[in-house]
Symmetry: C2
Subunit: 218 residues, 2 copies
DNA sequence: ATATATTTTTAGATAAGTCTAAATTATCTA
DNA sequence: TAGATAATTTAGACTTATCTAAAAATATAT
């Protein structure tokens, strides 16, 4: 049984280990959780004692199989709740993250089973991230970041990789949404910014930073 | 801003003050929360410092107006979630209490506003208890405990006053549910037990303890 | 009305989670 | 590869919420 704080650490460490393929450093965890390295050291000791992380002093942590299962349970809950908020309660995609951060810690397997059923077993959340099933299994849609796409090619937006309110509100403003058809019109070599056409209707310029966070069908 | 634990204390103290009309003793709070009197003393000091209780040493506490508002917010959330679980997720009425105890502490006014809307502004929860509106206002249905009803009279069950699983499962078993028509057939003076007819179909014997917790239209 | 019983509070301890400051280890660079 | 810099850990302190045991106040009963 993991506490609220332990679940948050584990989930974050799992995400970091997916991003960076391997060991996760104390400081990267502290940065992501907006806490201090000393607190992280304390917590990773506890989590490795519980068998969800493996830890070698001064060399960061990796997530164990047991930890992966536990992390995916929390992520499953988070993404199901986000889907509920958008599909049933008419939240915008930029309004769901904070609330889902709280809801993900509610402990009831019946609740999650029934919620999943109520939502008709969704496979992706409102940002296009896959929702693990009760066994922690899921599949990503084949996808590629927009900044890696050649000029002239097009695809459908299948996910956005940053759930920050400001980013999502910006996407709303320029008319980018999951399912939109994107064609890359031009890319500036100097700064990596690009011009894209949305749904064949309108073109907008986006920075490299933005294009890295928009992923389209491969 | 109240913490999780503070919200639980305040809600419980509010319920106790409603039951007993007035001052609430340290021990009654400890009993209800399954904690120790010393812990309660600590907490009521904190809560009176925050202005939600008024406290005189050795003489128990009363809930202030500010406290009443805060308590009713938690109760509103609890009862809306219970309604959601039963109406949308097909929980039985004996399965909702524990989960709602967790969900009631989720902090998002948008969430509660939208949940209320989604449930079509319910006025009563699955046990017949009234759901306060966003201003903390609500009205009880005119109702009376079954044990106080005269032999021969009848009414509709409008609420059950105990949310304990075992009690609710017992009611299921004998066919008692909110909205059922009850006629009091007989009452035994010796122990207060009674024979009731349910929906004009079937009669059952119930103890005084049970009849005190079933309330019908006045 | 006084002794006894009950209730409540205080004092001091514990656990979880966090912090700052200092010490230690690892990594980078010249 | 040695010294400087960066990352990490340790030590000690704080807060919240809890507990036990003892002290103090209130209530009860003869």
């Amino acid at each position: 049984m993991l506490s609220y704080a332990e679940e948050n650490y584990l989930k974050t460490i799992y995400h970091l280990s997916e991003e960076s393929e391997g060991k996760v450093s104390t400081n990267s965890i502290a940065d992501r959780l907006d806490t201090k390295a000393a607190s992280v050291t304390d917590m990773i000791k506890k989590l490795s004692a519980k068998g969800v992380l493996s830890y070698r002093k001064y060399h960061g942590v990796t997530v164990s199989e047991k930890g992966r299962i536990a992390a995916l349970k929390v992520i499953r809950k988070h993404r199901l709740w986000e889907t509920f908020l958008v599909d049933k309660l008419k939240f915008n995609w930029d309004e769901v993250h904070e609330v889902a951060e709280e809801l993900e810690h509610i402990n009831s397997s019946l609740l999650i089973k029934r919620l999943d059923e109520f939502l008709a077993y969704p496979k992706f959340d409102p940002h296009g991230d896959p929702i693990p099933d009760e066994n922690g299994e899921f599949k990503e849609k084949p996808q590629v970041a927009l900044n890696l796409v050649k000029i002239g090619s097009s695809g459908i937006i299948v996910s956005v990789k940053d759930s920050n309110n400001v980013f999502l509100q910006y996407l709303d403003k320029i008319g980018v949404y999951l399912g939109a058809k994107i064609k890359v019109m031009d890319q500036v070599e100097f700064d990596g910014s690009m011009e894209i056409m949305i749904d064949g209707k309108r073109t907008v310029f986006i920075s490299k930073e933005v294009s890295e966070n928009i992923w389209i069908t491969d």
